[in-house]
Amino acid sequence: MAPVLAGPPVPETDWAIKVQDLVLTYRTTVEKRPTFKKSLLRLGRNERTIRTIEAVRNVSFEVPHGTVLGIIGVNGAGKSTLLRTIAGILPPTSGRIEVHGRVSTLLALGVGFKGDMTGHENVVLGGLAAGLTREELADKYQEISDFAELGDFMDLPMRTYSSGMYGRLAFAVAVSMEPDILLIDEALSVGDARFKEKSFDRMRALCDGASTILLVSHGMKAIRKLAEEVIWMHKGEIAMRGEAEEVIEAYTRFLDLREQDVVDEDV
């Protein structure tokens, strides 16, 4: 599919996202719940639990307006980290990212952050945090709730939702923000077959309207169906970039090889 450059009047550059020499390392503790008590105990034993993780190393690429770029790779390859950096959530350690256009994200955890608040409240809060005004949200709310098909559940606390409903609402919010750039992380597995079909159609419509989409997925079928170009990430670096078919084939071959070869370097 050729990129269609109609729609929102953004381009004074021909790319929507430009990533230059991006490096992201983070220091993190091994413990899930760090406490002062434990760090005192550790100090006594003289041990350290801080680990440095090189999640993204020297990655550079550009994404032209209106393209759908798939990102594939094994778990821990740095795909989600890359997406979060482009969304401005994680700080780059070095390098530079430039993003042109309104960004909407659909990341691993989706919409909502307080289970005891209703779907409606969570949509409003998420939208306000993303920088929308109340008026914009009031306009979009109906569209969101129609698309998610949650009916009366919109006014119930989100802890009463099934995971499918959760995902549907998250998807509805992400696509209704009329983004120029949509960042999606593993979200196409939400909902039933019919909703999946509907979300595919919606994403197609978005890219026909010149939106740029970055799609992280393990579902090769979805990637093949939507993405024109694919980046294969491995250990924080770009292993390959090219046409979807080509990269997916190489990646699948790599996965097969790994399965056969037990003494894999990745283990």
């Binding site: 929102p8 401005g88 780059p92 990212i97 993003v99 955890l109 409240e121 945090a129 920088g131």
Partner: protein
Amino acid sequence: MTAIADPHRTSEFSSEHHVYEPHKVGLPPLKSYLRQLWRRRQFAFELARSDLRSKHFNTALGQLWLILNPLLLGLVYFALVQIVGRRGGTVVGLAYLLLSLFTFRLVSTSISQGARSVVGGGRLILNTAFPRTLLPLSSVLTCFFLFLPTLFVYAIVHVMADLPVTPYVLWGIPIIAMMLAFAAGIAMFVAAIQVYFRDLTSFLRYMIRIWLYTSPILWVPAQVPEKYHSLLYLNPLYPPLTALSDAVNLGRMPSPLLLGLTFAWAVGAVVIGGLFFISRERDFAVRL
């Protein structure tokens, strides 16, 4: 679409053009940070409101509880003071106690709620880029909303105690505003620390308890021997609570020294707490 592309605006959170680079000395450009913060002030209001709603404070009984809870607490402490037997059991005494207790609680609940705000905002932090200071600030706002009905309780006791009403009572507004700013600064500070040490809230509970006893709430400064008076000034809440009592309880002009100190603590807390929080906030997404 209502948003208009503005290619000249480059900032971290603006919706149209973003540049992300490593921060120099850990701080983002403060001017644009504050602008974005201001743009999203509605979020802090909405979060506070939803928070109250989810605690059922929109129901009739919930609102009754808002009045009853601080009043009962005040009466318990009042009874305690009677038993210890240092202050006369008059309505005037109750008025003194309630005013300082309610404002102290405004500060202490802001701090303890604020401490949990970032850790409790996990999903939103992982999924959306926005100035994180909105989270502790929203907690402070929640506590302020909860504080407002207690003013009503105080007003009734004030009238019952036949305390004077003079124009100096209006000094209460800037004093409470400065206490709120102080609370916000400390809330931001502890909210950031809480990310690294999740057991902070357990320590905090005891520290707040000690703070309550060392503040002029259950006792009046006149009961403190002269030679220890200078020690009182070590408590950041001593100046505002005393100034507030002068202005509102007694209806007289609070001393400039007390007002100055209150102002200094407020500014200091906001600057130090705020800068500390902002310098750490990009780290939160990987720590949660």
